[in-house]
Symmetry: C2
Subunit: 252 residues, 2 copies
DNA sequence: CGCATCATTGATAAGGCTCAATTTAGGTGG
DNA sequence: CCACCTAAATTGAGCCTTATCAATGATGCG
């Protein structure tokens, strides 16, 4: 991180303001995790000029299903939740995005999902039009976005197996391990995870009810696999969780 | 179709063999449904030269999870099934592909899913290496493949809602309507659909057991919404199915 | 400090699963 | 061409996981 900053100011002095990294990018802790990481400094500046940083309060919408899909987002701080709403108000939470995750390029004319902040969120918001134009000149960026879109499909399909074929305990274990992995990657500890979403959000993600989520967490707690804390959990026995994540339960 | 053939032979005579549409493409009923539809004749020839038509018997594998992802496929005849296998032999069927559907470009170094023929299948098989090279010169094709990849993600997410939040009857109704739509698009009647997959395959797709699939079909049959035939079904009341596809069931 | 939302826990019910038996269909060889 | 054999589909009975309904306790915000 400090190497980047050093490199950055050096470049700034050498080449003048034109190729400076924008103020907001300079201190952006999400940059090494984000798609912008593949860009040169001049490119980064052009990208930054195209978008703007925005802040969202918890439970504020970034995107509403059905509305014109004018913007794409790069999450630079906090956690957001993607979801579908069914006609009769049932809900399916499609996933949670963290710092460094990108969102909204693949959309059609209108968003086909809603996105809501779970914590105070910061995100770079880009007009999709402008972004598309930039992409033509930045094949590296396009490639990176493509790779991430492909990862999204893989993740969605993995979640299909979870929803179609896994038990409540398996589902919870998988979610906890997944969040631990991803939160570790964006900088936190690997055993202490934050769970800013409600039990209802978790339930709608895992295809369960909030009560079952609560009870399953209680089971994991009784097994001393986890310790539930305020707004989070500590993974005490990740190996046990990993085995629970793949075993329907032994009836022997 | 006859216009295409006429146009084709004319082009062939005018410009010589170099720009001829390959033998197999000339009569290919999948072409208007496939990604190749966006190509000019010379491009079509180059694409065809890169791949080869292959036939698969029912239950033969096109792709096995874990093996090197050397090929991509365009289905030109029949139906295939995509699935994951979980460690303990549970299975999640991710989807069914028909004539005109494309498969396998987004893969990493190794396939992350298996693909099996459900009927006698014909497919154009392309080395992914060569295809990648071609794509650099055919932005139209790349764009088309991208659009289809994006559709896949949308479809996968829709299926998440199905698996996470829908009842057995809703799931069956959605599957039947979806297959009817897609089979109509590839040429069949819209009310008579083919179901070459087993009840187990359907169950593994919908997150149910074969018994529940059977019983749910019986319910739809008793409602006279469908008529179950050998290896297929007739949709007698698509409107009823559509309403069943979005209603959890009335407890009144 | 009080209210509303969220989380937990309990009791009961139900949707779908498991196990099991029967029927149907498809493929093979006599 | 038919009988046989096996796999698939259907149907039934009972059970289990998870949902539903309800009450209580915890949290946090105004």
């Amino acid at each position: 991180m400090s190497t980047i900053t050093a490199e950055l100011s050096k470049t700034g002095q050498a080449l003048g303001r034109e190729t400076d990294v924008p103020q907001s990018c300079e201190t952006c802790t999400a940059r090494p995790l984000s798609v912008c990481n593949v860009l040169s400094y001049p490119q980064l500046r052009r990208l930054a000029d195209c978008g703007a940083v925005r802040a969202y309060a918890p439970r504020e919408d970034l995107v509403r299903e059905g509305e014109p899909a004018d913007f794409a987002f790069n999450i630079t701080e906090g956690m957001v939740m993607l979801f579908h709403r069914l006609p009769d108000n049932r809900r399916q939470v499609l996933g949670f995005l963290l710092k460094g995750d990108f969102l909204g390029l693949a959309a059609g004319a209108n968003y086909d999902l809603s996105v809501q902040a779970l914590t105070p969120v910061k995100a770079c918001r880009f007009p999709r039009q402008g972004l598309r134009r930039l992409l033509l000149k930045m094949p590296k960026l396009e490639e990176e976005l493509l790779a991430r879109a492909s990862d999204e499909l893989v993740a969605a399909r993995a979640h299909l197996s979870l929803l179609g074929r896994k038990t409540a305990i398996e589902r919870l274990s998988i979610l906890l391990l997944d969040l631990a992995d991803r939160q570790a990657r964006v900088g936190g500890s690997c055993s202490e995870i934050e769970l800013p979403m409600t039990r209802i959000d978790i339930a709608d993600h895992l295809g369960l009810t909030p009560e079952t989520v609560s009870r399953s967490l209680a089971v994991l707690r009784r097994l001393k696999a986890i310790q539930v804390t305020a707004g989070g959990a500590k993974l005490l026995k990740p190996d046990l969780l990993r085995s629970l994540a793949e075993a329907p339960e032994h009836h022997s």
